[in-house]
Symmetry: C2
Subunit: 408 residues, 2 copies
C-alpha cells in the first residue's frame, strides 16, 4: 500500500514535468548548409510556403518581386521553402523542385523539415520575407562572413511589422530582433510608405531603405476601367472584409459594431451585410442581423459585389494599409477603415473614412452616418494606384543593383 502511494506520487510528479518541445520555437530552427564555389550570382528567396492554399497577397508579391528582380539582374534564382512542406505538384510553373545542392536556376528547394543541406556560395544573395525565414539563416550568415571574408547581401522584403502579430512574448522579441540586427548590410524594401514611416518612427534603420506602394490588381483594373458609373445599381448592401482567423483584420470588433448598429437603428433593417475573405457560413447576431459570408471569391465575383455595394468595411490593425480598403475605395464604395499609429488612409481617397480611434461605438456610429446618406462613392479610374507594380519596382531594382556593384 505504501509502495503504491509512493508510485502514485512519482507518477504525478512525472506528469507535472513539462516537455522542452512544448516551449521551443520550431520555425527558427537552424538551416543546414555547406559552402562551395559557384561563379554566377544567384538570388535566394526565403519564403514560408509555395502551396496554393497559402499563396495570398504577401507571398504573391514576394515571388513576383524576386523573380522580376532576378530577371532585371540577369541572374539565377532559387526559392527556398522554410515552413510548410511542399504538397503535390508545384504551382509555380516555371520552376522545378530540386534539392539543396542543385545547380540549375529556377528551382524550389524544400527546407521546411531542415533535412536537406543547402549549398551556399559567396555569389548567393538573399531575399528574406517573414521574420523567421531570416532568423533561421542567422548561422548561415555569420559563418558566411567568416568564410568568405565579406558580409552576405541581404534584401529584407518587409510587408508588415511582424512583431505585432504576437503579444509581447518570446516570438515578439525574436521577430523584433530581425529589424534591429545591424550585423549584415541589409537592404530593406518596405511594402507601403506608411509601413516604412512606422519603422522610422520606431527608430529602426537599415543599410539601405526603399519602399513601394500598393497597386490595384491587374484583373480588377480591367473590370474597373470597363465599369460605367451611370449604369451602376448599388444596393443597400454593406460589404465587409471578414477574416476571423486573421487577428489584424479585427473581425470581432466589426461584428460587434454591426450588431450594435443593427440593434439601435430601425433603418438598418433595409440593409444587407455580406462578407468576403474567409468562409464562416452565416452568423446570426443577437440584434437579429445576419452576416453572410461569401468566402474567397473569384476576381470577377469580388468585383461584382463591390460594384453592387454602397458601403465597405475593412479594418487592419497594422501600419500597412492592406489591399481591400483600397480596392473597395477605387470601386466607389464608401469605405470605413482605421488609422493605426502613423497610418491614415483618409489621404488615399475621399471615399475612405478612417477612424482615429477604433471602438465598437465609433465604428457603429460611422456605419449609422454612412448608411443614412443617400449619395454613393465615385469610381477611381485614374491615379498612381492604377499604375503597374513594375514601374516602382524598377527604380528599386536599380538601387539594389547599384548597391551590389559599388558596395554603397
Amino acid at each position: 500500500m505504501k509502495i503504491k502511494n509512493k508510485l502514485k506520487k512519482i507518477k504525478n510528479l512525472l506528469k507535472a514535468n513539462k516537455q522542452f518541445s512544448e516551449y521551443s520555437i520550431k520555425e527558427i530552427e537552424d538551416v543546414k548548409y555547406k559552402f562551395y564555389k559557384r561563379k554566377s550570382t544567384r538570388l535566394n528567396l526565403l519564403i514560408t510556403s509555395v502551396n496554393e492554399e497559402d499563396i495570398f497577397a504577401g507571398i504573391k508579391t514576394a515571388i513576383s518581386f524576386s523573380s522580376n528582380l532576378a530577371k532585371f539582374m540577369n541572374c539565377d534564382i532559387r526559392i527556398i521553402v522554410m515552413d510548410k512542406p511542399i504538397r503535390g505538384k508545384l504551382v509555380l510553373k516555371e520552376y522545378t523542385l530540386a534539392n539543396g545542392s542543385s545547380e540549375i536556376s529556377k528551382v524550389v528547394v524544400d527546407l521546411s523539415k531542415r533535412d536537406d543541406v543547402l549549398s551556399v556560395s559567396e555569389n548567393d544573395i538573399f531575399v528574406g520575407t517573414m521574420w523567421h525565414t531570416l532568423y533561421a539563416f542567422r548561422n548561415v550568415f555569420s559563418e558566411f562572413t567568416l568564410n568568405f571574408k565579406k558580409n552576405p547581401t541581404l534584401i529584407y522584403l518587409i510587408q508588415d511589422y511582424e512583431a505585432g502579430f504576437f503579444p509581447w512574448s518570446s516570438r515578439y522579441l525574436l521577430a523584433e530582433s530581425t529589424y534591429a540586427n545591424k550585423k549584415n548590410k541589409t537592404i530593406a524594401v518596405f511594402n507601403s510608405m506608411s509601413l516604412y514611416n512606422f519603422f522610422k518612427l520606431r527608430g529602426y534603420s537599415f543599410y539601405k531603405e526603399c519602399f513601394f506602394s500598393p497597386r490595384l490588381n491587374n484583373d480588377l483594373k480591367k473590370i474597373l476601367l470597363r465599369a460605367n458609373e451611370t449604369e451602376l445599381k448599388r444596393k443597400k448592401q454593406i460589404l465587409i472584409y471578414g477574416r476571423p482567423s486573421k487577428n489584424r483584420n479585427v473581425f470581432s470588433l466589426i461584428l460587434m459594431a454591426l450588431d450594435k448598429w443593427y440593434s439601435e437603428n430601425k433603418l438598418a433593417r433595409e440593409w444587407q451585410v455580406l462578407s468576403v475573405g474567409e468562409s464562416f457560413g452565416t452568423i446570426k447576431c443577437p440584434s437579429g442581423l445576419e452576416v453572410k459570408s461569401l468566402g474567397k471569391l473569384t476576381i470577377e465575383e469580388y468585383a461584382n459585389e463591390m460594384l453592387q455595394s454602397q458601403i465597405g468595411i475593412s479594418l487592419m490593425a497594422s501600419p500597412h494599409p492592406s489591399y481591400p480598403p483600397l480596392e473597395m475605395a477605387s470601386f466607389g464604395l464608401k469605405v470605413i477603415t482605421n488609422n493605426f499609429a502613423n497610418k491614415d488612409l483618409g489621404k488615399f481617397s475621399t471615399n475612405i473614412y478612417s477612424l482615429k480611434t477604433v471602438t465598437i461605438e465609433e465604428l457603429s456610429k460611422k456605419i449609422v452616418e454612412l448608411s443614412s446618406q443617400s449619395d454613393c462613392g465615385i469610381l477611381m479610374k485614374t491615379g498612381e494606384y492604377l499604375d503597374d507594380d513594375n514601374l516602382q519596382w524598377n527604380s528599386i531594382y536599380k538601387e539594389i543593383r547599384e548597391t551590389l556593384e559599388t558596395g554603397n
Copy 2:
C-alpha cells in the same frame, strides 16, 4: 434517398455557420447601473478579481493604492469585481460582500456576471485598473455626464501597456482606445517611470499624469537588511523567473538560450538552474540541462534562493521593469534582463546586465560571460528602492485631492 442527401447538405451548412458568441468579446460587456443621490464621496475601485489565486503584484498594488487613497481623502470605498466571480470567503479582511445598492463603506460588489445593478451617485469617483474594467464602464460614464452635467472623475492606474498583451487584433485596438480616450478628465497614475515615458513617447496624454516607482517588498527588505555579505555562500546556481503562462516573461526564449549555453559550454555542467514563478516540474532540455521549477515560494524561501544564487535571469517584454529583476539585483545576484523600447534597467544597479536586443544567441552569450566570472554581485541595502510605497503615493494623493477640489 434524395431527401436524405438534402438533409445532409442542410446539416453541413448549419454546421458551417459560426456562432456570434465565438467572436464576441465578453469582458467588455456593459455594466447595469442606476443613478441616485448620495452625499459623501465614494471611491470605486474597478478590478478583475479578488480571489486569492489571482492576487499577484498588480491587484495587490491596486488594492493598497486605492484603500490608502480612500483613507487619505477620508472617503468611502467600494471594490467592484468585473471579471472573476468571487469564490468562497472574502480574503480582504476589512471588507464585506454586498450588492450594488449597498450604502456602507468597505464593500466588495460582484459584477462579474453583470447581473447586479450598481447604484451610482455624482459623488462617486472611479479607479480603473485593467483596460476592460474601464471599457465596461463607458456607458456609465457617458450617461453620468449627461445626467449630472459634469464629467466623472477617473483615476486610471496604469501598470502596463496592456494593448501589448495581445497581437494586433480587436482586443489590441479596444485596449488601446482606453488610453486614447479624451472624453473624461482622466488622472493617469503610472506604475514606473519607464512605463510613463513609454506612453509619452507613443504620444498619449491625459488630463493629469503622475507615476510611482517599484519599491522592495517589506518582508524581503527585512531579510535583505539582516543578510551578511561576508557570510553568504553562493552556489553555482542560476535562478530564473519562469512563468510559462505569461507571454511577457518570455519563458521559451530563456529556456532555448539556457539549452544553447549548456550544449556549447563544458563548464555549464558545474551549474544548477532553478526556476521560481510557476510550477512546471523539471524540464529536460536536449542538451542534457535540467531546469527544475520550485513553483511559487514563500517570501522566506524566495529570499533564501536568491541569497544562495550567483546569477538571476528575469526578462520582461514590456516597458515595465517588473519586480523580480529588481529584487534579484538588490539581493546581490548578477541579473540578466532586457531593454524594451525606452526601458533600460542597467541604470538601476551595477548588478544588472540589460540586453539591448534579445535573441537566443545574445542571451546565451551573456550567460556564458557571467558564469565564467568568479566575483559575485553586491547586496543593495540602501537607496530609494528600499523606501516605503506610501512615501511616493502621498504626493500623488495630494495631487489627486487638489485636482478634485479645484477641478484643475
